[in-house]
């Protein structure tokens, strides 16, 4: 297909994904908003008031970027893994596989859809956060890029998960046993500077730490890691996971016999 035809195909896929997100908004948008509101009330208000300041910010202000990033990561991942696996399960994925659409368009369409859900949920959570605390974005471009890259990394990871998944349980395993622990240990609720060794060094191999801190640097201007390193880590993951996803699509793993 030529460039214009690829663009039509990409638009179609993205539009379909966004329609899906909006059609089931009670499953895609409301639950994360409720969960994060509870985090703000319990951790930010009730417990946070006793913790005091962290890096010169109230505890509520300190955890807002982490919680927003956590919502973006889990929703991007959840969107693509459930949508693509659902298409596999219902065999609707064949609509795309028998079409002349190139693999990169399929991947990009799903990733854009998942990033869109991440951004919508992130925006909602940020709006809710404003009911609890004041926020001034310190570095808007870094904020935007960190959100975009963080969502893209986990969209790609969710896609790879969905390609390998054979049953719905398989797409719940990674979020439960990998994503959630890494998110909680990724500096969402605390600064890794508070940790002693070896836990601090162990935390530094957690990719989510870099995403949370890049976003925190964008919003608050403080970070536990160097911002350049954080972006480099995210870019490496984007390139690596995109390569894996395209290879899987080319080989037809889990999709073509």
């Amino acid at each position: 297909m030529n460039g214009a035809a690829n663009l039509v195909a990409l638009n179609t896929l993205v539009r379909r994904e966004i329609v899906r997100i909006m059609r089931i908004w009670t499953q895609t948008l409301i639950p994360p908003a409720i969960t994060m509101t509870l985090y703000f009330v319990i951790f930010g208000k009730l417990i946070g008031s006793r913790i005091g300041q962290m890096h010169g910010f109230t505890y509520m202000q300190y955890i807002v970027p982490g919680l927003v990033m956590m919502s973006i990561i889990t929703n991007s991942y959840g969107n693509i893994s459930s949508s693509f696996f659902g298409a596999k399960f219902s065999r609707a994925v064949e609509e795309m596989l028998v079409s002349p659409m190139p693999n990169w368009v399929i991947l990009l369409g799903y990733v854009v859809g998942a990033v869109a859900r991440g951004l919508i949920v992130g925006g909602l959570v940020l709006l809710i956060a404003l009911f609890f605390t004041d926020l001034h974005v310190a570095h808007p471009l870094i904020t935007f890029l960190s959100v975009l890259l963080g969502a893209t990394v986990f969209s790609l990871a969710g896609f790879v998960n969905a390609v390998f998944a054979k049953k719905f349980d398989d797409i719940a395993l990674v979020p439960t046993f990998v994503l959630t622990p890494l998110t909680y240990l990724g500096g969402v609720f605390y600064s890794v500077d508070l940790l002693g060794e070896p836990w601090r060094s162990i935390s530094m191999v957690n990719p989510i730490l870099y995403m949370v801190n890049a976003f925190r640097f964008g919003v608050l201007g403080v970070s536990d890691v160097q911002i350049g390193v954080a972006f480099a880590v995210m870019l490496v993951f984007v390139v690596g996971l995109a390569g894996v996803a395209l290879h899987l699509l080319k080989r037809g793993v889990g999709l073509r016999s």
Binding site: R91, A92, P100
Partner: protein, 318 residues
């Protein structure tokens, strides 16, 4: 070779062995001419769906190639897929989407702009009598409607080669006939059609050429007319007033009693029917109605497949 003389499909020594060792296709070759209405028949597990899967790029061939209007499915997948429309055996659309959206999205995957896609979706949903359901969730459609929706969806890229994999399975006769009418119209307009079906009456009525596949090999590939002409024996079922205790002996005809009022007559196609009626009449038997025991193609199909199996058994035993 001029563009019009390029075959719609050339299958060249196609083999497929699945990971579990099952050899689904054992080097099959066939050619389908442009504008043909081609029947691809075979018992369950013969390899038909594997062949269709390879043509539509859902299955990777182990070796060999297929060319659609001269375009290799292996080497130019995208270009080849532009030429194909597929109606699969199993329902494979998102049942929570609306038929209109399913069709428009499918067109989008082929790079067809939304405005054109919307016009085509309306055209084909109307032609397949689904327009009044266009904005309902697809899961609310009946089984026949879902199958018609898959035909409408396959038409969205206006393919030069339409592949129908058992499109009428489980569909009532009225809807089946309306589907035949639609597909015949598409074929008359120039689209090459490949049909697999277990309703052999359907294949006999619609198709001009035929391939029969069994155990991954082509056991017959000829014109429908030629194949049907090769059937030398026919069996008729006759309803009669009553049968005598001993069946009459009529030269060249073998009679089998089914019950007191029904008899089967097996006879050569060259044998005239008058002798059958005369022979029965002489013994006081009055024929009240008569029909073919099976569809002619069905009879041939069974014989070809059984012959192939017998040959296989003999070869294996040797």
């Amino acid at each position: 070779m001029s563009p019009t003389s390029i075959p719609a499909l050339v299958v060249d020594n196609l083999r497929k062995t699945y990971g579990n060792g099952v050899e689904a296709l054992k080097g099959i070759s066939l050619t389908v001419q442009p504008g043909d209405f081609f029947a691809l028949l075979g018992p369950n597990g013969a390899g038909k769906s594997t062949l269709i899967g390879i043509l539509s790029s859902l299955v990777n061939a182990t070796s060999g190639d297929a060319q659609v209007f001269g375009v290799s499915v292996n080497r130019q997948r995208g270009k080849a897929m532009q030429l194909i429309g597929l109606v699969p055996q199993e329902i494979n659309f998102n049942q929570f989407e609306k038929p209109f959206d399913i069709c428009v999205n499918e067109a989008g995957f082929y790079g067809i702009p939304r405005k054109v896609a919307a016009e085509r979706a309306e055209k084909y949903l109307r032609e397949l009598r689904l327009w009044d359901k266009a904005q309902h969730q697809a899961r609310m459609l009946s089984g026949g409607m879902k199958r018609r929706l898959m035909i409408a969806r396959a038409m969205m890229n206006e393919p030069k080669l339409l592949i129908l994999d058992e499109p009428t399975a489980g569909v009532d006769i009225e809807i089946r006939r309306s589907m035949w009418q639609f597909v015949s119209g598409i074929n008359a307009a120039g689209t090459t059609v490949i049909l697999t079906t277990h309703y052999l009456e359907e294949a006999e009525q619609l198709c001009r050429n035929i391939a029969i596949i069994d155990h991954g090999t082509i056991v017959e590939n000829t014109s429908m007319k030629h194949l049907l002409a090769s059937l030398d024996v026919e069996t008729f079922v006759l309803d009669v007033n009553r049968l005598p205790a001993e069946l009459p002996a009529i030269p060249g005809i073998t009679l089998h009693r089914v019950d007191e009022h029904t008899v089967e007559a097996e006879m050569s196609r060259s044998h005239d029917l008058n002798s059958l009626f005369a022979g029965l009449s002489e013994h006081g038997v009055t024929v009240t109605s008569m029909r073919n025991k099976t569809n002619r193609l069905e009879e041939l199909f069974v014989r070809l497949v059984e012959n192939g199996r017998t040959k296989n058994h003999v070869e294996q035993a040797a």
